[in-house]
């Protein structure tokens, strides 16, 4: 049993590119599935240099074999890929993904509101946009840009929406804090009340009714303020 063939079988069956760590984990986990098998135990603690050497060796093997696929290493992760020449057939096989239509203006606006104010309810989005957003909300969740992240602690416990990791990816953002001009935009909004509202700026969770309330009761105390409550929700801290 050669190390490179073990690695080959792993890379062959993996659904995603494998990092050295993934490979190490598989090697160290294997003896559990083959009790008393000394060969399996022997590879338990293969060193990174050995792994790298075996992977390079394997890569050369497949390069030399000049088949329709080869082993590649991208950003430290190894994967079997097919040669580009065969793309027309693979496209026909998997059916090329239809280009998702670009986001419409209503969808963009809705998404922007969710992004800067999350988490918030649909009713709150509607209040800001001034129109019903059922359709656009559905579009956004279907496209994986927004998702439900919990329920509000208010009457009827409506669902709260937030943006997804795909949202960040789609717009090329590192984090929500990285959103362009977010601070200015947030500041503009929260500057409205005469009494300063303090809230975690990172959350940008200004509820629409907050705006109204600010207008009607400009003297509301920060602690009683819905914004402060909303900021404490932290329903989806992992995101």
């Amino acid at each position: 049993m050669e190390l490179k063939f073990i690695l080959e079988s792993l890379l062959f069956s993996a659904q995603k590119p494998l990092s050295l760590k993934d490979i190490r984990d598989a090697l160290s986990g294997a003896p559990e599935h083959a009790e008393g098998n000394e060969t399996v135990a022997a590879f338990k603690k293969a060193k990174d240099e050995e792994l790298n050497a075996a992977l390079e060796d394997l890569s050369r093997d497949h390069e030399g074999a000049a088949r329709s696929y080869r082993l590649t290493c991208v950003a430290g992760a190894w994967q079997f890929v097919t040669q580009p020449d065969y793309a027309p057939w693979l496209k026909a096989l998997v059916g090329v993904r239809a280009r998702p239509p670009r986001l419409s203006q209503p969808a963009l606006e809705t998404l922007a509101i969710i992004a800067y104010r999350q988490p918030l309810t649909r009713a709150e989005v509607e209040q800001i946009r001034g129109v019903a957003v059922d359709g656009t909300m559905q579009t956004l969740t279907e496209r994986g840009l927004a998702e439900t992240v919990g329920r509000a602690e208010t009457v009827g416990r409506p669902q709260l929406y937030g943006t997804t990791a795909l949202f960040l990816e789609y717009f090329g953002l590192r984090s929500l804090a990285d959103m362009p001009a977010a601070d200015e935009l947030r500041r503009i909004v929260v500057e409205r009340p005469t009494a300063p509202v303090t809230a975690d700026p990172g959350l940008a969770t200004v509820a629409p009714d907050v705006l109204q309330e600010i207008v009607i009761q400009p003297e509301a105390k920060p602690a009683d303020h819905p914004l402060a409550q909303a900021a404490e929700l932290e329903v989806n801290p992992g995101k």
Partner: protein
């Protein structure tokens, strides 16, 4: 008692028990001494009976067949009913052997299937992740889409401002887009590259942000500026667009309120 029970249960049926006995004798099915085999089989059944174990009907039927064979074998050769074959069309000895051979054949085949079953369990199909092809016209993944988003934000904010204007202060139109365009171009004349985030640093109000932003969009539309993002998560940079081959449209220049010769020159 349960010990014996377990032992007898090992046999799937009388044929299985017979094969076991034959195997124990280490002889071929065709060479087996049927008389000895019959005695052993009947002994087993007797033991089962002695132990008061429930004996399946099949075992009793087989015992009877074996008794018949045994009794015939015990007769002197000249007295054996050789003609029984022609009468019944069947010799119980060969019928038994035929059955045993046949059963053994399938038992072996079952063992083969068992090996395949185990091998199958340890065979993993290649299940690659879905091959994804970038659509021919990929949806913008870099700068442009982020502007879309920002544009949307501003549109929303603007609307709120209009909605609330009636109940609150009068919207003071201090900035205009054209002013901001000018400002932007001036900035770019000083610095060949601007950071996107810096554009809004000085903005003091929402209208100013909007105007700056609209100015930026307008300049992009007019191909005076380009926005670039070095890497996926990188800072967006704004810089003058490369000069068109035959110079800019005079109309554009005029609109920009800047002499043609001082128009931004490409820097790379």
């Amino acid at each position: 008692m349960s010990q014996y029970n377990v032992k007898f249960e090992v046999f799937e049926g009388p044929l299985d028990l017979l094969l076991y006995l034959i195997k124990k004798e280490e002889v071929d099915i065709y060479e087996v001494n049927l008389t000895v085999l019959a005695s052993q089989f009947i002994d087993y059944v007797d033991t089962m009976r002695l132990l008061d174990l429930e004996i399946a009907g099949e075992f009793l039927v087989m015992a009877a067949t074996l008794m018949l064979i045994k009794s015939r074998e015990l007769l002197p050769v000249e007295q054996r009913p050789e003609q029984i074959e022609e009468e019944d069309g069947e010799d119980p000895r060969w019928e038994l052997i035929r059955q045993l051979v046949q059963y053994k054949k399938f038992k072996d085949a079952a063992a083969q299937l068992q090996l395949l079953e185990a091998a199958r369990e340890n065979t993993f199909p290649r299940q690659p992740g879905r091959v994804e092809f970038e659509p021919e016209t990929a949806p913008p993944r870099i700068s442009a889409s982020i502007f879309d988003l920002l544009n949307a934000v501003n549109a929303v904010l603007k609307r709120i401002g209009q909605r609330e204007a009636s109940t609150r202060e009068i919207f003071e139109d201090k900035w205009s887009v054209s002013e901001k365009i000018e400002e932007l171009l001036n900035k770019l004349a000083r610095e060949p590259r601007l950071k996107f985030s810096d554009l809004f640093q000085q903005a003091t109000s929402r209208p100013e942000v909007i105007c700056t932003f609209l100015a930026l969009l307008e300049l992009i539309r007019l191909k005076q500026l380009v926005c670039q993002q070095g890497e996926v998560f990188g800072e967006i940079e704004i810089k003058p667009a490369p000069a068109p081959i035959h110079g800019g449209e005079p109309h554009d220049r005029a609109w920009l309120n800047a002499p043609a010769e001082s128009a931004p020159t490409p820097t790379s």
